[in-house]
Amino acid sequence: MANVYETVIGLEVHVELATQTKIFCGCSTAFGGAPNTHTCPVCTGMPGTLPVLNRQVVEHAIAVGLATNCSIAAHCRFDRKNYFYPDNPQNYQISQLYQPICRDGYVEIDVQTPEGDRRDAAETDNRKRVRIHEIHMEEDAGKLIHDGESGRSLVDYNRAGVPLIEIVSEPDMRSAEEVIAYLEKLRTTIQYLGASDCKLQEGSMRADVNLSVREVGVQTLGTRTEMKNLNSFHAIRNAIAGERERQIRLLEAGEQVVQETRRWDDAKGVSYSMRSKEDAQDYRYFPEPDLAPLHIDDTWIAQIRARQPELREARMERYQRTYALPMYDIRLLTDSKQLSDLFEETVACGAQPKKVSNWLMGEALRLLRERDMDPEEICFTPEHLAALIGLVEQKEITNTVAKEVFAVMFTQGVDPRRYVEENGLKTLQDADALRRVAAQVLADNPQSVADYRNGKEKAISFLVGQTMKAMKGQADPLKVREILQSML
């Protein structure tokens, strides 16, 4: 008889903060410089150098803490996590263990059909609360490059000292869907705050999954494993399914789950043990003596709270109130702050909201997907999109032409008015010219003409299409139909 298991999941999410400079020195955090060009004596751990805390890092951490309903510590401090590895220039990482900056928060996620037991987390209707244990600040490590040919390992310290926050959840999630909903929630919240771009693929958001299973109804937690190297939602979903299965298989066979860190290989769909609890290093955490304790007073918190931008939920409500858009549109638009900013700016230029929404959700998202681009890479301006919509509305161009123009705007950011002008794309208004083309189409398609006359109403659509084609789309299809009808 098979037991029924539930999956218990907690996440440790690392988010790279969007600061200009590193957490403890003035070096640039920009991505992709030549190796060791964004470095200085401080972030390469040279003797005698000292860390100085970047205030912006603290402000971002507080902003994320406030947005995730955490309490902000009046006093916090940094600790050293000691371990030897060449990507770690000092051989200790400055992090926070004993007094993290944010504690005891939560986010609410929308959950699909309830599955399994959820007594741990407060829940109303289809909303679920995932509690956040803490958020702490820390520095990123450098990168090792293993050169297979020479057998050498090289170190690039450009990333060393890039600021991170680690958001540690309670084990409140029960499925991959909930995990992804939670990550999506964190991602949009942090993006709206401007605290990070949160790109999983580029590593600016990284999630470690702590997972255990237990028989439904059991109150105590099972032995958990931690999975690393999950750099897409796809990988997270697979890893959760794989690890759940692996643990259940062990338990069903009467074996025990070993507390360990495992590395997920998404290509092969299996995980490997990295190190067990017994091999776990003793990090010898102790308070960082080079940094004074950090005092965060209420005034500072209030200032950050006052500066807090509108978050996604508030924006969704406002869109419902102000623009009367369907919920489907609102979700899609606000999923990306960039896209929804673009939406609002275009509407502010006088375009009709639903039309703007249609362009962004339709053509814009389609082209983004096609080119594997992110909304922030969009190069056309809201003015130009509004102008394009205006051209269609005033029947200066047809929809077909508009899509063509949009594609050019999308890649080259051209002014649609000028582009239409310069390429002669305006809808032909000259009825005589239209009649001449229509006459030619009728002459070329006697069969369709006959069909129509024999009562096949649909045949006219074909003739309209042919005329439009001959006009290179620069005609109003309604007008074409009208003319054809009159001529038949």
Partner: protein, 492 residues
């Protein structure tokens, strides 16, 4: 008169008034170094060419009428754990034998901005761990007062160089007494400022929460004047303090202790204190009394916990601070290694000396899971208690007075055989580091063997003004022969 008889402040005055040239002053030091350095081994590195070039440039600028700074043209020595751009900085260790920093310590920058000419890097206990300068990879330094004795440590090279006339003044660093104790053993003045007064940027860390840079000089005025130059808030050191108007230490020197309340911890005069030291220090207390101060013996308490608390915390911080020396990025790297682990192991086994390894092991132990609470945390709690005891003392007294060390300079080879005994010698100096308060060592005569004894005065945090006034008053009251001669001639 002999140029080498001048204090740093006096020499600066002469150079400013063009009575002595910068190159001339430098050459006087070179002559002394040529004649005696082989005997003392004060320096790890001597920078003749750079120093000569700089002295010549400074001379031209002085002659052009430029105002350079209070120490324009004065030859200084710098302890070898303070980074000097373009000059190797070894920390007395094989690990950094070839390490040449691309940056200078903030204190060095400030000293150079004041016109100082840095002539070399002085010998020290490896990574400042030791009280004798015998743990240096670059050989022992001999005490100029008696070559059979150690100069003290860890800033033994700086103290010996000042005492031997191989520089006019020097920078040292003091984590548990490393400026004051060698000053005491070599018969010069050594000042440890309030923690945070001098930026630690560019000081290779031993115990971050206690490390502080301080001057060693011929007299109190030199030390005050040097502190004026090197003190100051630095954005590169998060523990550096902005003391605002609280500078001008040299200007605060007045011969006046009338009504000053001086506390003498009775706990400091128990067994283990060498009789000659006891007598010299008690005599010094009487000098204060004679000059109008109120001198009282009192029970400070907690004295027996000072050494264990210090060695627990210092070793813990050191074990982490020294992790960066791994053979990967700079410094010594062991040869013929197969794996990363072997690289670490062999590099650190070969690159560090015995005392450094002992403290790294001790520090690693006290921070380990299961021991952190029992050792590290407990030591931090003791530190808080000690700080409180001193806060209470300073509620009653302006300055505390006592010995710097229980004995005068030990003979070479005597100390390292029994490290615990060596650690116990730090009992009087360590409290200033645990609490952050300033303290100064001033010569107060000699013991039965004719070796110099140091008087330690401790001030409340940020109260260097009072501390220096007390030290200056004492020094003036018992002026040594040499100083009288120099100043008489100068004024005459």
């Amino acid at each position: 008169m002999d140029i080498l008889q001048y204090t740093a402040v006096e020499l600066a005055e002469c150079i400013r008034h063009r009575k002595i040239g910068t190159v001339e002053a430098l050459e006087a030091v070179w002559q002394r170094i040529d004649a005696e350095e082989a005997k003392w081994n004060c320096y790890i590195t001597v920078e003749r060419e750079k120093a000569l070039k700089r002295a010549a440039t400074l001379q031209r600028r002085i002659e052009a009428g430029e105002q350079i700074g209070p120490f324009a043209g004065v030859p200084f020595a710098v302890k070898d754990n303070l980074c000097t751009k373009g000059i190797r900085t070894t920390c007395g260790s094989r690990m950094l034998e070839q390490f040449v920093p691309t940056y200078s310590a903030a204190a060095v920058e400030r000293l150079e901005a004041a016109g100082a000419v840095i002539i070399g890097k002085t010998n020290m206990d490896e990574f400042a761990m030791g009280s004798t300068t015998e743990t240096s990879y670059f050989g022992v330094t001999h005490n100029p007062c008696d070559p059979a004795c150690v100069p003290g440590g860890s800033s033994g090279g700086s103290a010996a160089a000042v005492a031997a006339g191989e520089c006019f003044a020097a920078l040292g660093t003091d984590t548990g007494g490393s400026v004051r104790q060698p000053a005491s053993h070599c018969g010069v003045v050594g000042l440890k400022p309030t923690y945070g007064t001098v930026s630690r940027y560019g000081l290779v860390s031993y115990a971050s929460s206690m490390d502080q840079i301080g001057p060693l000089g011929r007299d109190v005025r030199d030390c005050a004047a040097i502190l004026d130059v090197i003190a100051g808030r630095d954005d590169r050191d998060a523990t550096s303090v902005d003391r605002g108007e609280q500078t001008g230490f040299k200007a605060a020197l007045r011969q006046d202790v009338e009504g000053m309340r001086i506390g003498v911890p009775a706990d400091y005069f128990t067994e283990g204190l060498q009789p000659g030291v006891r007598k010299a220090v008690q005599d010094a207390a009487e000098v204060f009394r004679a000059n109008g101060a109120v001198v009282e013996y009192f029970d400070l308490g907690l004295t027996q916990y000072v050494v264990p608390a210090y060695y627990t915390i210092a070793a813990a911080e050191a074990s982490s601070n020294l992790e960066r020396f791994d053979g990967i990025k700079y410094g010594y790297r062991a040869q013929d290694i197969g794996t990363l682990h072997a690289l670490y192991q062999k590099t650190r086994s070969e690159g560090f000396g015995a005392e450094v390894k002992r403290r790294i092991l001790l520090g690693t132990f006290v921070l380990s899971t299961g021991y952190y609470d029992a050792y590290y945390l407990k030591a931090q709690r003791v530190r808080t208690r000690i700080r409180r005891a001193f806060d209470e003392a300073f509620a009653n007294y302006d300055v505390l007075l006592g010995p710097v060390a229980p004995t005068t300079a030990p003979r070479l080879g005597e100390s390292l055989s029994d490290p615990l005994q060596m650690y116990l010698q730090d009992i009087y100096t360590i409290s200033a580091n645990l609490t952050g308060m300033p303290a100064i060592s001033v010569p107060c005569g000699t013991d039965e063997k004719g070796l110099p004894v140091g008087l330690q005065l401790m001030g409340d945090r940020l109260a260097e003004g009072t501390l220096l006034r007390a030290a200056y008053t004492y020094e003036q009251a018992v002026k040594t022969e040499r100083e009288r001669n120099v100043s008489d001639k100068e004024r005459g």
